[in-house]
């Protein structure tokens, strides 16, 4: 084992080694950052074979782009964005990012622009670890029910924590459009989660 194996050299050293085309550094990068990149890709594409293809795409882009990587940026953030972009590129090629209607899941108002909404009673914290896992699965299943163009915006902003500007760039839409889609996606998810809650009226 080499001295740095297992314990990571810091990002600066790693990036310098990558720029110098050090094969060991590439292996170290794939080992260290690949799992998190693959996890992010899996959340977006939800298909194992496709996810693995995306990770390959992503690393090809990394190998090609590492020479121009700005060392002031964080390597992990850059790799995460490259992974997300590779996943989005595949979804776009498959035509899965087209705008879809989500109107049925939007909030309700009466003719006076007054909201129609029951008073919710939320469930307490899950009592066991198993219940907590079930609850998370239930929420993920409902996120999966959103049309792709909304699900992806919700994932990128709320889960992958990209900024509005980053999402706009990745999806090639305006920042205003990102904000509108995010709000509609969150509202729709709320509607889908409502059966989990009790209400007073």
């Amino acid at each position: 084992m080499e001295a740095h194996a297992g314990t990571l050299r810091d990002d600066d050293d790693l990036v310098s080694a990558l720029k110098a085309e050090d094969a060991g550094a590439f292996a170290e990068m794939v080992r260290e950052y690949g799992p998190r990149m693959l996890a992010a890709i899996r959340r977006i594409v939800r298909d194992e074979a496709l996810a693995q293809d995306c990770l390959q795409d992503a690393f090809l882009n990394v190998f090609r782009g590492i020479g121009t990587f700005d060392q002031r940026a964080r390597l992990s953030s850059w790799l995460h964005r490259v992974a997300v972009n590779a996943a989005l590129m595949r979804l776009r090629k498959l035509g899965r990012l087209k705008e879809a209607s989500i109107d049925d899941l939007m909030p309700e108002f009466d003719g006076n622009d007054c909201r129609i909404e029951p008073t919710w009673r939320f469930e307490g914290s899950p009592e066991s670890r198993l219940d907590a896992i079930k609850l998370k699965q239930q929420v993920r299943d409902n996120i999966d029910r959103l049309p792709e163009s909304y699900r992806v915006v919700l994932l990128l902003r709320d889960i992958e924590e990209l900024s509005t500007a980053e999402v706009a760039e990745a999806l090639e839409i305006t920042e205003t459009n990102v904000k509108v889609r995010l709000h509609r996606a969150r509202s729709a998810l709320k509607k889908l989660l409502e059966p989990m809650w009790g209400h007073d009226d």
């Binding site: 690949g34 006076n112 998370k136």
Partner: protein, 111 residues
């Protein structure tokens, strides 16, 4: 997507809501529909002072919007925690074959 819940707007609004609708149109107030547009900015703290005060005034007088925003915040929490999996490192493991394919692709001729 036929299993989505559907809306029923056929019933006439009760008197309380009709009064609130009228009040919402007074100067310095906002309707529930306008309130809707400000929710995200309010929650992430970027709503400017004037609309923020109108937003808060609306929250005080509107039970439905209070209930809505509570459920909306709950949704955000549930959504964000749905993926925070302590086993994520395991589920994200890169299979050996894939790892080898990735490393091999680095030295392949570029198209």
């Amino acid at each position: 997507m036929t299993d989505w819940p559907t809306h029923d707007n056929s019933t006439k609004p009760p008197l309380g809501r009709r009064l609130k609708g009228a009040m919402s149109r007074l100067p310095g107030m906002m309707t529930c529909r306008e309130f809707e547009d400000f929710i995200d900015a309010y929650l992430d703290g970027t709503l400017p002072i004037c609309p923020r005060m109108r937003f808060r005034a609306h929250l005080i007088m509107c039970r439905e919007c209070r209930s809505y925003i509570a459920a909306y915040k709950r949704t955000l929490e549930l959504g964000k925690s749905a993926f925070d999996d302590p086993d994520a490192a395991v589920t994200g493991l890169v299979p050996d074959e894939l790892m080898n394919a990735i490393l091999a692709s680095r030295t392949e001729p570029k198209p």
